[in-house]
Each structure stands twice: as structure tokens, then as C-alpha cells.
Amino acid sequence: MKSVGQKFVLSIALLCVLWGCTKDNYKEPQSTITGRVVYQGQPIGVRSNGVTLELWQHGYALFNKVAVNVAQDGTFSVKIFDGNYLLTRLRGNGPWMDQIDSIPINLNGTANIDVPVTPYFTLSNDAFTFNKADSTISGTFNIAQVVTSKAIENITFHVSTTGIVDATNQIAFASISVAPPANAFTAPVTLKIDIRPRMYTAGTQATAALLLGDILKKKYAYVRFGVKPIGVAERVYTMVKRIELQ
């Protein structure tokens, strides 16, 4: 049985807790910066969770970057306070040339920024077909070289059960990686992937076989191409496409 005094102290403490957290707290940020990473007006496809931009703000004691992750379709968005920012492209991070100029952003409410980059390659005209007879997906696309300093290391073709597809994503389970053909820049590149589960028999491919059976039942999959420049960590990707398997 609690005494009246104890109850009184407890209720005062409760009131203090309820009242305590209003006065000097900031409101959560309300403003938004959205944008795209573009080359000649077209967004660049990248790896999900792979490429980041940096936001910097001068004038405060704490000078630290706000990392802005770029989504796989080349877009980004960040909720942040109003103010003057500098947006920089992290060197050696994306599949494009380093560029040290920063982009000033005067944020008041919303801002929509196109971040121009110079990718090593651009990919276009990607098209995919499913051949029901032998359960293969084939795809074709064009590669154009923008900067001649980097050759292609390899070309990859990824198939996944979900809409997030890239070389490292957990769900991306079927992919092939080939050396670039000699005429990669002049003729369309065609790749083909066999998605019959019984082709994946090694003990380590059990999950792949299971998920392939799964997408054959669902009758759709997500696909995209990637092209890796030599000596750069990230690939340039085509946009993710959904393909009907029937």
C-alpha cells in the first residue's frame, strides 16, 4: 500500500516527464531536397545502397556531411532543415568521373536538383524477351562510351524476384557475367540466361533453384543489365524492368 506522499511524488514525477520535453526541442525537418543523377538529361541507373552524395553546411561548430543515398533509378531525396547547403559528388564512388565542383543549394521548402555527372558509359535500348520453349530470358542493349579512359571489365545480366536488382543484392540470385565482346560499343550486346531450376544443381545453388522455381510459378521477374568500368567499384545499370514469363 503506497502512502499518499509516495503517490504525490510519483504523480509530480509523471507530470515532469510529460511536460519536460517541449521547450527546447527542434521540430523535425520539414523541407525536402529531391533530385536525380543525370547525364544529358537522362538519369543513371546504379546499385541500390551503393552510391552516395554528400550535403555540407558551413557555419556551425559541427561540420559533418549528411550522406544522401542514391536509389537504383538514379533519384534521391532527403528531408532536412532550410538553409544553404553544398552538394558534392563523393570521389571514386559512382560509375562516373570524379568532379570536385560542388552544387550550391538554397533550400526553402523544397528544391529539385539535377546532379550532372559524366558516366564512363551510357546504356540504352534495353529490351528483354522470354522464350517459353527453353525457359530462357534474353536481353539486348547498346553501350555507348562517354569517356575513353576506362575500358569495360565485364557485362552482367541480373534476374531477381523483387524490384531491387543489382550485383550484390541478396535477392538477386541469378546473374551472368561476361567479358565484353570486341564490338561492344558498335553493335547491340545480347545476353541470355537459363532460368530452369534444374540447371542449378550444385549444393550452393539450392536457394537459387528454389527462387527460380518461384518466379516461374509467379510468371514475372525483374531484370537489368550492368556494365562495370575497369578500376571503378560501381557499375552503370539499365533501369529495372519487369518481364512477364509467359
Partner: protein, 623 residues
């Protein structure tokens, strides 16, 4: 109302306090707990105490006490311990963070520089010999610390004096980064300068001449391979002023220095490979855990039960069935990738024989441990395997049973989730062992293996009340032989490389000497000899193959960590198979994301506050 008596008491008390409190130099007294430089550096014993502190602060990335959990993040192991301290992330992180190996250890550097300066100022009563000895030992620690920094960060500012703000000259404090090669050169020149002055006889816990040479040997090998393999990348990782990136032309010079240092250690005859137990597995285990009569160890971080200096590495990592505490165990579970790296004693490749040649059926073994027969002795000294014992008790690793279903002509798998005690199948025989493996269990092996290297054999040592005093080996002769082999091989001196490799392999119980040598063989030898000794990740980094082995691809066997689950076959009526043992190779169930090491991970990012404080510091490539 005043009571005169108590008033008097107050007055007397106040007078007493007043009369004692106003000593003139009250604020200028000497601290009763801190020793200033002028007291410390007059007494050799106090300097040794200071040295002990600095030895203890030497950074390691995964020792027995510091960050040992990291063995599961970038050595050959899966985290199999508890999941509530954030450690599950070691199995689920999708890529290495930019600051994974960040080290900016100028606290220790400053303390050592301060000690060196103070000893000159105040050490008036020391003999010249004492001074020279202490000076050398301090400088060894400083060189070791610079090595730890350069291998993680590339070039760092070389500071050898005490920086102070007294003069108000802040610009001179903004020291830029030295070139990566300059830091390696600094380590080499410091080692040369101190090796004949450092003394310390054949101590294994204070650095002697051979510890200095071992540091030089390892550092120069790193420098050489960085020069060679970074330059061999399609797009070498460099910074314009050379803070990162060593020109390829320096490779041979570094390799030669490494080889020379190794030769000096080997030819001195002071050290020999531990080889007293006729069983190669037990012998290798003792080589790391036996302190008496161990002539292999050059420098170790020692612990001592009788002085209360102990650690809980055994508590955290011993196999579940043989643990002596009610919690903990099995945190570092070695992978099948590592187990298969150990060759067979005839020198053939180490892949386990699990399936028939046409892959139609399992290979059936009479005993659960038979699949590991004739493997490199070091496997038994490094990993607790199914069918082995520890401290006289069975380790009991069995995942379950495979029951034959005649109707479908296939096995169905039965596993138990009972942890920590043997569970029985309906036939009254073992179903799942007390040490697991259990797919989703905590504090129980997830890979079918447990760690044995550095686990204390003394009864009670895996109990938190008693703890373990196994030492952490910083340098040992086994590594020096492998350094020499690699350096000699890179310099084209094949005979010497072979000789050094074969010495290490013969001690491991491998029966045939190598006649030819490849780089892959040397690299694999380091992987198995030095597993869990804080080498693997640094080796992968200096060979510039980490981004290839750990490329984050779900289909890359090197980026995934595998487990081996042993099963007993239940197939009555088939005497050739019933009661025998079969093995499934699977990706370790708790391991969720392939390891992904990006090019930017070769040099860890520099902290933002360091960049803010010193504008002369250049950022890392990709930072």
C-alpha cells in the same frame, strides 16, 4: 535558543578546521596518485611500469582481448554467439563501412614522444646504458604503432616530437600526411637504429632484437606487396602526393629488406619451431598455447592467472558441449571455407570428399570424424571438429539424422533445436549434438565447427570466475618463415622460398615436400598457418585481392561462408549405409549477406574531426 555547550562545540570545531585548512601552498601540493615526469624518469622500475602500459595499448584488430569479435567480420568465421549486443550485424551487414579499420592513434604516439623527451630532461640518474635501452624500447612501440596505422590508413603524419600549443604557433601543428612509402621507410630506419640497443635478452613479453626484426620483416613485406600489387591494379589506388600508393619500383627493395630481416632471425638460432609433441595437431595447438619451453614465440601479450591478469576469450569461444559456464560459448565458429583450405598430408588440395564422383549420392563414413582423416595437422590445432574431444570430453557436433524414405527413394532430414545437451532420435541414438550445429541457435556453433586455437586447455578457464591466461602472440617464428618464403619467391629466389615453406609444412605433419611453388600456395599457407592471428584481412588487403574475393556477389563461393552439417543415416536393412555418417555443405544459416569489400575499403576513411582540426590532411581516395 542556544545551548552554550553545543555552541562551544561548534566554535571549537570551526577553529580546528580553520587552523588546519589555510596551509599556504594548499593548491601547490604534489598529487598523491599521479607521478610527474621528474619522479618517473629517475626510477627504472617506474619506467618499466610505463612501458607495460604502452605495450598494453598497442592496437590490434582482433586480439584475445581487443575486438576479438572481429574475427567473425573479416577472418574465416561466422558469428555464432549471442545476438543481443549488435553482433548479429557481423553476419548481416551488406558492405564494409568506410571507417571499418580506421585508426588515428596519436594519443599513444604523443605519450611515447613525451616519455622520450622527459627521459632526456629528467632521467639524470639513469646510466647511459639504461637510457639507450629504454629509448630503443619506446621507439619500438612507436614504430609498431605507426605500422598499425599505415596498414589501415596509408600515409599518416610522422610525429616524433612533442607538439605543444605553448608557443601560440598553431600553423606548425598542422602537419600534413607523409607519403605511404615514407612511413614504411621510417619503420625500417627506426628498426635498424634500435635493434642492437634494445637488449631484453630472449624475453617474450618485452621486445628484443628479434621482435624488432620481426616487425621490420612484416612491415617490409607489406610495403613490398603494396608497391607491387597496388600498381598492378587496372586503376591503382593513389593520391597525387603519394599519401596513398607506393610506386612499383620500390617493391624489390622492400622485399629484400623483409627477406634480410627474416634471415637474421632464422639464422640467429635463438628460435625454433615448436616441435615437441609427436602428434602434429596437438603440437600445433601447443605451439600457440604453451608458454614454457616455447622457443617459437618472439613477442606476446601475456596474461597470468596468479596476478589476476586474465581474459574471457575461452569463455566466449569454447564449444558449447564442453563449456564450464552457464552462458557464452561458440562465438567464433570457423567456416568450411577455412577447413577446406587445409591440404591433405600428401599435399593434395583440401576439399572434403562429401559426394560420389557422379554427385548422385553421399559418401558414407563409418565415424563422424573420418571425413577429416589425413588432413594437415594444423586443422586439428585450429578447429574443434566433429568426433574430437577437448579437455577429455567429446565436443559432440552432429546436426541431426537423415532418415531414408523407401517410398520416395530420398532422405528426409530430422534436426533438433535442443541446445547444449544431446538430443536423441526415436531409435535411442544421438540426434543432435550438444555443441550443435543448430541453424538458428545462439551461443552454439552455426557452421559445424568450433574454434580451438587460443582456447585454454586448463580446467575452469572458460568460467568467468576463473578466466583464461592464454597469451596473444604478436610475432612468432612460423610467420617469419612464411614472410621469408613470400619475399624470396617475389624476388625469384625459389630455392630459399621452398626451403622456408617446407619447414613450416613439415612441422604441420605434411609428408611430402613441395617441389614447385605458386603464389596461391604461399597465400593459402598463410591462411591456414596464421588463421585467427589477425593476419587474414591484412594479407588480402596488401595483395589487393580483397575486392575480388569478397565482391558481394551471392554466387561467389569466396564471398559466402559455408557450414558443414554432419548427419547420421537411419536406413534399416541397408547395412552399407545404416548408422554411417554423411555431410551437407550449406551456406551458414546465420550468415545472411555475402561479404562485400569495395575499392574504397583499402584505406579507411579519416575521421571528420581530424579533417576539421587540420586542413593540411588530405582525404582518402573515395572519401
Amino acid at each position: 535558543m542556544f545551548n552554550t555547550k553545543s555552541l562551544l562545540k561548534y566554535i571549537i570545531c570551526s577553529l580546528v578546521i580553520l587552523s588546519t585548512s589555510c596551509k599556504k601552498d594548499y593548491l601547490d601540493r604534489n598529487s598523491p596518485t599521479l607521478l610527474p615526469g621528474d619522479q618517473t624518469f629517475k626510477d627504472p622500475l617506474l619506467i618499466v611500469g610505463l612501458l607495460a602500459n604502452y605495450y598494453d595499448r598497442l592496437p590490434t584488430d582482433a586480439s584475445l582481448t581487443t575486438n576479438w569479435q572481429r574475427a567473425t567480420t573479416y577472418d574465416d568465421a561466422v558469428w555464432s554467439g549471442g545476438g543481443n549486443a549488435g553482433d548479429e550485424a557481423r553476419n548481416t551487414f551488406t558492405s564494409y563501412a568506410a571507417d571499418s579499420w580506421r585508426l588515428w592513434d596519436y594519443g599513444l604516439i604523443r605519450d611515447i614522444n613525451l616519455a622520450l623527451a622527459d627521459m632526456e630532461t629528467y632521467g639524470t640518474t639513469l646510466t647511459a646504458a639504461q637510457k639507450a635501452q629504454f629509448n630503443a624500447e619506446f621507439r619500438f612501440l612507436r614504430a609498431q604503432d605507426y605500422f598499425e596505422m599505415v596498414k589501415r590508413m596509408g600515409g599518416v603524419p610522422i610525429i616524433t616530437t612533442v607538439l605543444t600549443t605553448d608557443k601560440g604557433d598553431y600553423a606548425s601543428l598542422r602537419v600534413p600526411r607523409n607519403k605511404e612509402s615514407e612511413v614504411y621507410d621510417f619503420i625500417a630506419s627506426e628498426c635498424d637504429a634500435i635493434k642492437d640497443k634494445i637488449g631484453n635478452g630472449t624475453s617474450t613479453t618485452r621486445a628484443n632484437k628479434y621482435a624488432v626484426l620481426a616487425l621490420k620483416c612484416r612491415a617490409m613485406l607489406y610495403g613490398g606487396s603494396l608497391a607491387k600489387y597496388n600498381s598492378a591494379l587496372p586503376s591503382p589506388i593513389t593520391l597525387p602526393a603519394g599519401e596513398v600508393g607506393i610506386p612499383a619500383s620500390k617493391a624489390n627493395d622492400y622485399y629484400q629488406k623483409s627477406l634480410d630481416a627474416a634471415r637474421e632471425i632464422i639464422n640467429s638460432g635463438v628460435y625454433s619451431l615448436y616441435n615437441t609433441n609427436p602428434n602434429p595437431g596437438d603440437n600445433f595447438y601447443e605451439a600457440l598455447t604453451k608458454k614454457q619451453g616455447n622457443k617459437e614465440v618472439i613477442l606476446a601479450q601475456d596474461f597470468l592467472q596468479s596476478k589476476g591478469r586474465t581474459h574471457t576469450f575461452s569463455y566466449d569461444n569454447i564449444a558449447r558441449a564442453v563449456r564450464e559456464d552457464n552462458l557464452g560459448s561458440s562465438a567464433i565458429a570457423p567456416t568450411l571455407n577455412l577447413v577446406e583450405s587445409f591440404e591433405y598430408t600428401d599435399g593434395s588440395a583440401g576439399a572434403l570428399k562429401l559426394r560420389t564422383a557422379d554427385d548422385k549420392d553421399y559418401i558414407y563414413y563409418d565415424n563422424i570424424g573420418d571425413v577429416f582423416a589425413n588432413k594437415d595437422g594444423r586443422l586439428y590445432g585450429t578447429v574443434m571438429l566433429p568426433g574430437t574431444t577437448f579437455k577429455g570430453l567429446p565436443v559432440n557436433l552432429q546436426a541431426g539424422v537423415k532418415v531414408w524414405n523407401a517410398a520416395t527413394s530420398a532422405y528426409s532430414t530430422v534436426e533438433s533445436s535442443v541446445q547444449g545437451s544431446n538430443s536423441l532420435y526415436t531409435d535411442g541414438k544421438l540426434l543432435t549434438g550438444a555443441s550443435g550445429p543448430i541453424r538458428s541457435g545462439l551461443d552454439i556453433s552455426n557452421t559445424g565447427f568450433n574454434l580451438k586455437k587460443y582456447i585454454d586447455p586448463i580446467p575452469g578457464s572458460s568460467n568467468r570466475g576463473q578466466q583464461s591466461d592464454v597469451w596473444w602472440i604478436r610475432y612468432r617464428l612460423g610467420e617469419v618463415y612464411l614472410n621469408a618464403a613470400e619475399a624470396a619467391f617475389e624476388l625469384g629466389q625459389l630455392a630459399e622460398a621452398l626451403d622456408n615453406m617446407n619447414k613450416v609444412r613439415a612441422r604441420a605433419g605434411i609428408k611430402t615436400n613441395l617441389g614447385a611453388l605458386t603464389l596461391e600456395r604461399i597465400r593459402n599457407e598463410r591462411r591456414v598457418e596464421l588463421a585467427f592471428e589477425d593476419h587474414r584481412v591484412w594479407d588480402l588487403i596488401r595483395w589487393r585481392i580483397a575486392h575480388i574475393l569478397w565482391n558481394g556477389s551471392p554466387s561467389n563461393p569466396d564471398a559466402n561462408l559455408y557450414a558443414l552439417y554432419p548427419y547420421r543415416v537411419v536406413r534399416p536393412g541397408d547395412a552399407a549405409r545404416d548408422g554411417k555418417y554423411v555431410y551437407d555443405k550449406i551456406i551458414a544459416p546465420r550468415f545472411r549477406a555475402p561479404r562485400f569489400f569495395q575499392l574504397t575499403n583499402y584505406y579507411s576513411s579519416i575521421a571528420q574531426n581530424v579533417l576539421d582540426a587540420n586542413p593540411s590532411i588530405t582525404r582518402q581516395p573515395g572519401q
